[in-house]
Symmetry: C2
């Protein structure tokens, strides 16, 4: 059985309004470069894990085999993994365990979602039904409103400001403008962000991530195969996951995501590191408040100091821990099933020193943090070169 599991190939489709392609075609756009990157033939893939969040977006029940068949893997094992907005990272976790358990030597993990053919209200409604459809959803709860509650609680308890929330958005758009795969590649000013339309107080339009189409793919391999296929394998050395109550109304504390804290502890322990060892991270910024809570809950700063952390530019390149220098969900986009796999692609690039203008120099340890719903699911992965 293999000691380590490595990432030997990465691929990324252009995120955005991709009405030019269907679900399977979009997946193909990510898989092909991943195979080229790993310099392997599709026949070398032993199994695939496909992450798609909702069958309703593409009107395709059971989309895994659709993608698996279209990209040409043939008669190998395939199943779909789903964990709401953390689907992609759950798929990476499942793929890792297939390799580590010996069921497969080389696994293709694909995350894909097509959402933009729905209007924003319709897409928001589908996502809202990931919340508890028997209790919270019928009373009008949507994900902007769940995170707005958290933002209000955080502002009240720690004095976090609207300006600090907006600063997260400014940073992520600045880096997203440098990422050719990002949905919206344009910088924004603090003033524009502060003045953007109110969505759900205190969250403005620019506090909310995008509804996007997109796909990303990674190829995982056993240690032996990884060393054969790649001169620069990146190792997945820590996997932490956790969950929390289905209903937000049952949470003790709205200023943190307990699942993030628990998943991070587990990932750090498995990797044998602490938060201060992390050189570069991607975190789940579905709303700006989510990134501020992630700074704290992942241990990059003390609880309550997330607002100060962004204000001091500690999450910029050159700061204490560069975060979401791929643009994050905010600017790169958030095609639900693709997001977690895209995170793995970005950290792999960073640890290979292939991120170009957005490169965090000398990064050796990376982290990805992917949240499902409003903290109901959380997956933290730690990577090492």
């Amino acid at each position: 059985m293999t000691e380590k599991v490595g990432i030997v190939g990465i691929g990324h489709a252009k995120f955005g309004k991709r009405t030019d392609v269907t679900l399977r075609e979009l997946a193909h756009e990510a898989v092909t470069p991943a195979l080229v990157d790993a310099e392997i033939n599709v026949k070398d893939i032993d199994a695939s894990v496909i992450g798609v969040t909702s069958e309703e977006f593409a009107a395709q029940v059971s989309p895994a085999i659709l993608v698996h068949d279209y990209v040409g893997i043939g008669n190998k094992p395939v199943f779909r993994v789903e964990a709401a907005c953390a689907t992609g990272s759950a798929a990476v976790r499942a793929g890792w365990s297939l390799v580590k358990s010996g069921l497969a030597d080389v696994v293709l993990v694909v995350g894909v979602e097509t959402m933009t053919h729905l209007g924003t209200p319709e897409a928001t409604e589908v996502i809202a039904r990931a919340g508890d459809t028997r209790w919270e959803y019928p009373f009008g709860a949507t994900f902007p409103s769940y995170y707005a509650l958290m933002a209000i609680a955080h502002m009240h308890k720690y004095g976090t400001t609207r300006e600090q929330l907006s600063m997260v958005s400014v940073k992520n758009h600045m880096y997203g403008a440098m990422n050719p795969y990002a949905h919206i590649q344009k910088t924004i000013t603090l003033e524009e962000t502060m003045k953007s339309a109110m969505i759900c107080h205190p969250l403005n339009l620019y506090d909310c991530c995008l509804i996007s189409d997109g796909a990303a793919a990674v190829i995982l391999a056993s240690e032996e195969k990884a060393k054969r296929f790649s001169d620069t394998p990146v190792w997945l050395v820590g996997l932490g996951a956790a969950s929390d109550t289905m209903m937000i109304s049952e949470r003790e504390n709205l200023t943190e995501l307990k699942a993030t804290k628990t998943a991070a502890e587990r990932a750090y322990r498995m990797a044998g590191i602490t938060s201060s060892d992390v050189d570069v991270a991607v975190v789940h910024d579905c709303f700006t408040i989510a990134e501020i809570m992630a700074y704290e809950d992942l241990g990059f700063c003390k609880k309550g100091e997330g607002g100060k952390f962004i204000e001091e530019k500690q999450s910029y390149i050159g700061g204490k821990t560069p975060i979401n220098v791929d643009g994050g969900l905010k600017s790169k986009g958030h095609p639900l099933g693709a997001t977690g796999v895209s995170m793995t692609v970005e950290i792999t690039k960073q640890l290979r020193d292939e991120a170009g203008k957005r490169q965090v120099k000398g990064a050796e340890i990376g982290l990805s943090h992917n949240v499902g719903e409003a903290g109901q699911y959380c997956f933290v992965h730690v990577y090492s070169r």
Copy 2:
């Protein structure tokens, strides 16, 4: 890392028209007896894997955390696995790999689906959208029609008869009448079966499995924990999986499911057995022709002799290989996500000598065979006492 993965707890809800409960309540009915059976506390569960096929049946996007939270597992990792009608077996495979890989020592696998609040045409339509929604589905293909094509091909090539198809149904109803968890617990005659309403030529009503609500749960554990929790662990010793073309129209041969043959080869090789070592099996009889093809494709008889196999009662208790003595999908019911987990429950009972009137005496090696769609997915598990 653990050498073996064992089944230490099993639980089964009553399958049927369960409009008295919601999705999470039905899951709970399976999880509670599984915990009691394993004599463990829910706190001993390290992670869960939840199998639900369609978010549309229960109008709940991302149902995994709903179930995980409701049964009280707390902040442990959870994700959903889906592979159409083979969702339950895919979830067992994913759970096995979590244990074997060392990510968890004890994993709860739950399969659950609530379908009967929809009418049969509406449920059939949702299932039809598991087929290729861009090509075959728009032309009216549903799963009864896919399997009808296979039945016609099999009859044409091998002389399989309508009577032989009906005999599968008679057998499965006979055994289902002895299973207190089965949806329809009544015997039927060959004449009734032959005269039942035509659904899709040559398949009559009694050739088709049921649309049901149901749940099943199994607890998987590492070798050390399995020996601690159970005096009679059943070991999951062979896992084979395979897939096939998304479109039926691309298949070379409609008289077999290639994914079954490939998955079986892989499972037998991993377990170090041949088909003749199998003492008891559950196979995917979504339609009677599917059970006949499974006899052949799993190697219990030669290709083309499946009709003769049932006619000679070789798949009854006392025959060569007793098959679906729990009633199968035909009589026990087919709540999509639950079916594969229910199969694991039945084989575990058989290998523990706890199947009562339906017991295959002295069974030491068992097999479960679960197909997704019309052979797009297949999972074969081999079990040993």
